[in-house]
Symmetry: C2
Subunit: 157 residues, 2 copies
């Protein structure tokens, strides 16, 4: 029996499933971050990265957070206004600045990390260590495949 090539079950289509899953998770997390910390997901990513590697520039943070420069610029602006990060112009390149968490920023980070980790743990509840590793490897492989299939989008995002 031949496969019907004119039909496609959307709910079995990998891109659809991934988008749907990531949508549910993102909205759920966004809700928590915003309610408890008045923080967007973009801001949260910036904080997490600066916390890990203080002194990066906006561009570097953007690369690591998969945020384009407009988004980074806006997230940084909001974080600075909220007193959560500060910037220091680089002496050798006055266009760019190094980013640091303020004390407030560090406190937020220390509060939000357990929340995020807890959420991840809940998501993965029921997965064995082996399965988590499997999943991890699947995602890595899909990532690199997806990168190869880009028709050609610009850098960053």
């Amino acid at each position: 029996m031949k496969k019907d090539v004119t039909a496609l079950k959307l709910n079995r289509f990998l891109p659809y499933r991934l988008t749907k899953l990531s949508g549910i998770i993102s909205r759920s997390l966004a809700e928590r971050y915003s309610r408890q910390f008045d923080l967007t997901i973009q801001e949260w990513r910036v904080i997490a990265i600066i916390g890990e590697k203080p002194g990066l520039t906006a561009r570097e943070v953007g690369d690591l957070a998969s945020l384009d420069k407009v988004n980074i610029s806006r997230a940084i602006e909001r974080l600075e206004k909220a007193g959560r990060i500060n910037r220091e112009v680089l002496p050798h390149d006055r266009r760019a600045f190094a980013l640091y968490l303020t004390e407030t920023g560090k406190i937020i980070l220390s509060q939000i990390v357990p929340l995020a980790q807890n959420y991840e743990n809940l998501l993965l509840e029921g997965f064995s260590a082996d399965e988590i590793e499997q999943l991890d490897s699947f995602l890595n492989r899909l990532d690199s495949r997806a990168d190869e299939l880009i028709p050609h989008l610009k850098e960053n995002n």
Copy 2:
């Protein structure tokens, strides 16, 4: 050695990885659909669903496509204007209408299905049948976990 609970490697954080992966894939597909068929992802989902089950109402399509009613309404409007679908008011409920693909719509569907399937195949190139099944089951499990963890978002999407 204790784990440092005040740090979190973003690129190992499942929600981040899923969002990133689904973003790359979605943008890549959106680019193809739009360039070759002048179709948004939402419109594509609607066409795929009506193709599979002709006669559904907007709400029913929305449920299956994970699109809220505003998005469905807009996708349907564009599809109808482009002559790709048509609507027939339901005799027993004059608020709602049944949706059908026009001939044009069917042609589009028959052209886009192989494209989508091909893209999925390319993504999964290198995955064995077993691994695809594994991945499938992981996604299902994550889906239901994610649903349970919703803090309480509305229906749909």
